[in-house]
Symmetry: C2
Subunit: 358 residues, 2 copies
Amino acid sequence: MAQKRVTMADVAKLAGVSTTSVSLIMNNRQGTRLSAEAAIRVRAAADELGYRPNLTARALSTQKSHVIGFISEQVATDRLASGLIRGALQEAKRHGHVLFIAETEGEEGAVHDAVDALTDRQVDGIIYAATRPQSLHVPANVGSTPVVMLNAVSDDVADSVLADEYKGARNIIRLLLDAGHTENVVVLGRSLDHPADEWFTVAVQRRLAGIWDTLRERGVTPIAQLHCQPWSVINGYQAIHDLLQANVQPRAIICLNDRLAFGAYRALGEAGLKAGRDVAVVSFDDDDIAVYLDPMLTTAAAPFEEMGAHAVRLLLDGEHTPGEHLVPMPLRIRGSVKVPEKVGSRIEHPDDETNWVR
Amino acid sequence: MAQKRVTMADVAKLAGVSTTSVSLIMNNRQGTRLSAEAAIRVRAAADELGYRPNLTARALSTQKSHVIGFISEQVATDRLASGLIRGALQEAKRHGHVLFIAETEGEEGAVHDAVDALTDRQVDGIIYAATRPQSLHVPANVGSTPVVMLNAVSDDVADSVLADEYKGARNIIRLLLDAGHTENVVVLGRSLDHPADEWFTVAVQRRLAGIWDTLRERGVTPIAQLHCQPWSVINGYQAIHDLLQANVQPRAIICLNDRLAFGAYRALGEAGLKAGRDVAVVSFDDDDIAVYLDPMLTTAAAPFEEMGAHAVRLLLDGEHTPGEHLVPMPLRIRGSVKVPEKVGSRIEHPDDETNWVR
DNA sequence: GACGTAGGTCCTATGGAGGCC
DNA sequence: TGGCCTCCATAGGACCTACGT
C-alpha cells in the first residue's frame, strides 16, 4: 500500500504556515522576509516528515527539469566510447542533473523518435553523441531545446565537442621522433593520395594532417603508407604481413588506431619481430586492448570522459561562445616505444597543455 | 525565443471542443460517447499543430512517469556488462519507457543519493545492477518504488535477474566432453577445497557446481585444479605457465572466465602449444576479447542483454511471481574446441532451452 | 447521446493583505 | 497616516477524471 510521499502541504500543516512559505523557505529564496523562526519551524517539520520536493511538479511549474537527454547510436554499449557517457554522467551529477539515455542502434527514424521521447519529458538539453566522429543530421523536432554534438558535428547545431586530433597527432609523432625513431617509418591506415571517401571524416583529416605536418617539419619521409579501411585488426595484420613479405623492414609504425596496431603486433610476431624492441609502434585511441598487448601500446588517448563532461558543461552554461570545442588527447606512454632515459626527459612539447601524460 | 509547445488547450480551441474531449480522444478512451466527427476534428487539429502531450504534466496527474531508473556501480562504462543497459534500453523503448541512468562509482552513500534523485523524479521502478553478481544492500529510501536486482541479489528485494550459471556450466562442460576431450582436464580459476572468501559469490558457486557435477556424472577426474584470484589475464598466464613448467601436459582447460583463458593462451603459445589444436579450451562470459583471440574462444556467454530486457519486463509486469529469474547462458562454439563433425551433430543437450547457439 | 465543468496532481511566482508601532 | 514586517491567496504550469448537464 504505497503510502504517499510527503508533500509541501503536509509540511505546511505541521509547521502551521502556508505552502507558499514552505516553498520560499525550502528554496532559500532571498529578499523575502519570512521570520527566522518560521524558517526553523518549517525546516524542522520537513526534516521530521522526511519531505523531498517532487521534481516532476517543480519541472512543470518552472519549465526546467534538471534532466539532460543523451542520444547516441551505440555509446552505452560501445566499449571505446562509453567513456563519453561516464564523463557526462559524473558532470551532470555534480550539477544535480540526471541523464536520460536513448540509443538509436542506427535505426531509421530512431533519432527522431528519441528526440520526441526526450522533449516530451521536457529535458533541459540534448547531447547527441557518436562513437566515431562524423557529421550527423539533427531532426527538426528538437524545437528550441539546446543541443550539443558530442564526438560529432552537425550543420544544424553550433556546438560540438571533439578530440583535438591535430595536436594529439603532433604530440605523439614528436614523441616517436624525439625517441630517435626517424628511419624506416611506416604509416598504417590511410595513405595521403587516397581519394576522399566515407571514412575520410574531419577527425581523420586532422589526425593525418597532424602526423604529416610533424613528419615534414622534422624532415622525415616514411618509407611506406599502407592504406586500409576499415581500421580493423585483420586489416592491420594483413598490411604489415604483406609489407614484411615484400622484404621491407619497418623500424617504426604509426598506426591510425589501436586495432590496426593490434594486427600489426601479430604480423610482427609471426616474423619473429617484437614491438618496442625491434619496431617502435605508436597509435591512437587508447582502446581497452592497448594495455592487453605485450608490450603495452603507446597511444594518443581519445579523451572521452573529459569530452562527455565538457558537453554537459556547455549545455548548462548558456553563456559560452558557440562553436567547436577541442579537448586535448593525452599521451599514454608505454612499452611499444623505447624512450631512452636522457631523451625522455628532454622531449619537447610545445603544445604543452595537451600533454597529459599518465 | 522558445516558442512554446502546443498544449491540449490549443488543440481544443482549434477543434472547438473542451480540453476534456481532447484528452479522451487522444488517449483513445473507450466507453465514452464522443461523436466520431468530433474525434476526427480533434485529431486533425492535433496533427495540424503538431501536438504532443507533455509527459511531465501527465506524470504529475497519473502518478506514472513511464521512466525507469537504472542504478549501477559502473555498468555503462564496463565493457562486459554494458549489455545489461543495452538490453534494458531496448526493452524499455519497446514499452514507451525511457531510462534514467545513475552510476555510483562505488562511492559511499552514492546509492542513497541516486535513489533520491530517481524517486524525486517519480520513476515507475528501479533496476539496481552490478557488473559482477553479488549481494547488495538497497537503501530504505526507495520507499514503495518497485526494485529489481539485475545481476545481483539483495535481502531487501524479492526479484532478481541472474544468469543461469549452473545450467550454463553444465552445457559447456558437456560440449567439451562430447567433443572427446576427457583426458588431462584442468580447471583454471578456483579449486574446490579453497575456503569461501569474498570472491566466492553465489554465481561462482553455481558455476563451479555445474562444472563438477557434470564432470562427476561423466566419470571425468581433472588432473589439476589451479586456484587463482582475481581472474585476470596475468593470473591465468602464471597458473598455466607454472603447470607447464612442472611438466604437466593438459589436453583440456576449463577456464572460469575469459580473461583467464586469454592468459592461458599466452602461456600455451610460449610453450609452442596452441589452443584448439593441442589443447581444448572452454570458458565463461564471452568477453569482447573472446573473438580477438586466435583461435576464437568457445565460451558460455553471459546473457547480459537478455537479462537487462528481462529486468524491465519484470518491472512493468506487476503480476509476475517474485523471486529469482534465471536467464540461459548461450554457448558460443568457436575454434578453441575442435568438435568432430559427427560428434557436433549428436551432442546431447538435455537442458535444451539453454542452448542458444549462435 | 454528446459534451463540458470543476477539482485533483504538486510546486512556483506574484501581488497584495493583515498586524503592529 | 504611514511604514515595516510577516505572511498567504491566487493563479498558473499541462494534464487526467468523476460527475453533471
